[in-house]
Amino acid sequence: MRLRLEPRPEPSRLAGWLSPIVATLAVLAIGLMLFSAMGKNPWEAMYVFFIEPIDTLYDIGELLLKASPIMLCAVGLAIGYRANVWNIGAEGQLIMGAIFGGGVALAFHGSTSWLVLPLMLVAGLLGGVLWAAIPAFLRTRFNANEILVSLMLVYVASFILSLLVHGAWRDPEGFNFPQSKMFDDNALLLNLLPETRLNVGFMIALAAVAMAWLFMRMSLVGYQMRVAGLAPAAANYAGISASRTVWLGMLIGGGSAGVAGVGEVAGPIGQLLPIVSPGYGFAAIIVAFVGRLHPVGIFFASLLMSLLYLGGEAAQMRLALPSSVTGLFQGTLLFFLLAADVFIHYRLRVIRTAPAVAKPA
């Protein structure tokens, strides 16, 4: 008797939805082993990591607050990924969005107009779009690999932000700290839930999830992008423009990441700092895949990812664990997901020794 992986006649939908759940359970199991190996009580550690961060209303607010930018980035990226457009630079596009949106807030510092916030969101969207347009242009014009270009631009964006907050945009009354002025109240997102820090950014993220679903499921262009991702030759046969697919895939991801950037600086941060994101743009890549590139899946996956961030912080404070625990959990989650995904296209079969057909002569 032996085990054999054999291709399924059709990809299994059940395995597709089970895979993220299996991966999450596997991460929990690894967590238990890891905490015991480090000499902590594993059950207490698990409680601190996964339950404590969400046991009060305030904490729930934090969970949703952190999930919002991840959700925004991930739904945008997923549209591109569906079309085989591999934008890895959402983090950079998020930073550019923060710079553009923050720039508007600083330029209109002192104004009381209600228009400042909408203008910031539009500017942030534009910043993300512009930053994503660079790899899109290089890919369609010179066939440059968008994975590399978009990734490298993350660091460029990060340095531009650093340059600004250390230089031109530094708060003159900020005791020389590398940070901008605090934004005015009319440049901040409205609070959504009293007693918490949750703001309107969460509603924006939910709206993006709904729009992404509508776009991918109901629109012809969304359908055509899925075709381009699944069968490029069929897309070419039907006359679906390959360069339009790349442009849309990149710009939608860039735009949503840009809005997420504004959400951060006009939300919990309230000013420009050298670092505006703890890697939401990268975490969104994992979230997009854990969520099966589906807007609804991404909604739940961003909550999970947000919980990993919060749990990691709690574990640092309460259990004196290193901050890399968060990254470790993120990594193992993706690892187990990819492993479990094998069963979408394959199934495990137990092979019993076959009855002999005939004895060799």
Binding site: M218, V227, A234, N236, Y237, A238, G239, V357
Partner: protein, 519 residues
């Protein structure tokens, strides 16, 4: 006669092989005598390939026995089959393009047979059987027919006592088919048994001594094909009589597609460049392009469909407009439809449902409003296509990949025709499609022509082209012959053209015949 002549070379008894979704072979018995050319006849999906794989050791049967020269054997793998003396020439070749003939053959032989004298033995065997081959030629310079010779010689060098040929003539010109038959007859006269798999009834009647007919995995009869008519063989094969296409007088109208002096470089190293192609297709006629595949059909189709654009827009005129620079969608908007050669991955998205695949090209049929897909209308379009073209599928939600090749082809043909095109191109429309479905597709193309559509058909099957076309042109080495009225030509003439006889001798002085690719 000696005792060896009466003991069957190969005897299968009660072979059954079931897969999770289908029973490929059910209680199949087959007896092949020494020196016999034995046809295995059946539609696609009748279980021919599975049976051959069982004989060649690539698939294990669930039950049943195999006797080789009177002794029961278990053929565990192809190496064991080769040691017994079973050779197989596959429909799809397994040759390395960048290696020479001798290298390719040496790779397949066991060590003790691939010594320094191999080139000499290749020459010897290939001339003895009328299959001339130069051992030091590279595969990529060879035509498909020449590649098949390499495969056959490779088998012959292993002194086979049973040679399995899987649809060997689908890639050959009529003249090459005749030569192949001579070789096979000669082999048989020397005592080698041949299992000949095909669905071409005329060939089987001309070549084979005996035929075993499979339908739905079961043997439906054995006969001597020399004493049967094509009609009676077809009845055994499909279980009913073949519908005959109705051919009405053509009502020729205006020019729908005019190609003028189109030349195009190959876009990949093993592709074929197009040279000065000129072609006119008029409303109400079917023009056929014959030729062995790899002679520029792929490149010509890509240029005509808009999948590859042409710098000079007016080299291709579609319904009076210069369309060379338009993409496939823009050409479709003018009333163009196209059935490509590859169904999965090009004509249809394998992972998507039939409904979603209907949307691929039919979205101009009021299936979209204000940019949003009308899912109900899309489903209705798919359902109606499935019904009207007799597609065997689970319904509009069936995944394209789950359909058999013939059924998916019917769906694609139906999807394209139901868009009411003014100009339609079909490449290899019945390739791998079973006989009944093929007849249905040909009838659909004829009906289209009678309704005043210009139709261009590219096919390797001469019978098919003669059956439905009004005019025929031949493509060879990237050049297209003048189109001739079907009534003014015959298979022999077209076959000659297929070997490139119409190309002026000064065009390529130093190059050997090599349609599949030149560097």
């Amino acid at each position: 006669m000696t005792d060896a002549a009466t003991t069957p070379r190969l005897q299968l008894t009660g072979i059954t092989k079931a897969y999770p979704s289908v029973i490929a072979n059910q209680d199949v018995s087959l007896t092949v005598l020494p020196g016999e050319i034995h046809a295995v006849l059946g539609e696609n999906g009748a279980g021919k390939s599975t049976l051959m794989k069982i004989i060649y050791g690539a698939v294990k049967p669930d039950t049943g026995t195999i006797a080789w020269e009177g002794k029961a054997v278990a053929i565990a793998n192809p190496a064991r089959a080769r040691r017994l003396g079973i050779g197989m020439v596959f429909q799809h070749f397994s040759l390395f393009e960048t290696l020479t003939v001798a290298d390719n053959i040496a790779l397949a032989l066991e060590k003790d047979r691939s010594g320094d004298d191999l080139p000499a033995r290749i020459r010897e065997v290939s001339t003895r059987y009328g299959l001339p081959l130069a051992p030091d030629r590279h595969i990529h310079t060879m035509s498909v027919g020449e590649r098949q010779r390499v495969e056959i010689v490779r088998c012959l060098l292993q002194d086979p006592r049973l040679l399995i040929m899987d649809e060997p003539t689908s890639v050959l010109t009529p003249q090459a088919v005749e030569k192949l038959f001579e070789t096979l007859r000669r082999l048989a006269s020397e005592g080698c048994s041949i299992l000949y798999i095909s669905h071409k009834l005329d060939e089987i009647r001309a070549l084979c001594h005996k035929a075993t007919v499979l339908r739905g995995g079961k043997v439906t009869g054995t006969c001597d094909p020399r004493h049967e008519s094509s009609t009676s063989l077809a009845r055994m094969m499909i279980g009913s009589d073949l519908p005959h296409p109705q051919h009405r007088q053509a009502q020729i109208g205006a020019d729908a597609l005019v190609v003028r002096d189109l030349s195009l470089d190959a876009d990949d190293p093993f592709g074929t460049a197009l040279h000065n192609i000129s072609l006119t297709v008029r409303v109400g006629e079917i023009v056929g392009i014959a030729g062995v595949s790899g002679n520029g059909q792929k490149e010509l189709m890509a240029a005509l469909s808009g999948e590859r654009r042409v710098p000079d827009a007016d080299r291709i005129m579609l319904l009076g407009q210069a369309v060379g620079r338009l993409d496939a969608a823009q050409r479709r908007a003018l009333g163009f439809a196209f059935v490509p050669e590859e169904r999965l991955g090009r004509g249809a998205v394998p992972e998507m449902s039939l409904a979603d695949n209907a949307l691929l090209t039919a979205h101009r049929q009021q299936l979209v409003s204000r940019g949003f897909v009308r899912h109900d209308a899309v489903r209705a379009y798919a359902v109606e296509t499935i019904r009207a073209y007799g597609v065997k599928a689970g319904g509009p939600d069936a995944i394209a990949r789950s359909l058999s090749g013939g059924n998916l082809q019917k769906f694609i043909v139906g999807r394209e025709i139901r868009q009411h095109p003014k100009m339609m191109i079909a490449a290899q429309p019945t390739w791998g499609v079973d006989v009944g479905a093929a007849a249905q597709i040909r009838q659909a193309l004829l009906d289209l022509r009678d309704s005043g559509v210009a139709v261009l058909v590219v096919s390797e099957e001469l019978d098919e082209l003669f059956e439905i076309c009004d005019r025929l042109a031949v493509i060879a080495r990237g050049r297209l012959s003048d189109a001739k009225a079907v009534s003014d030509t015959n298979a022999a003439e077209i076959g000659l053209l297929m070997s490139g006889s119409f190309i002026a001798s000064g065009a390529e002085p130093h190059r050997p015949f090599s349609p599949a690719g030149m560097i």
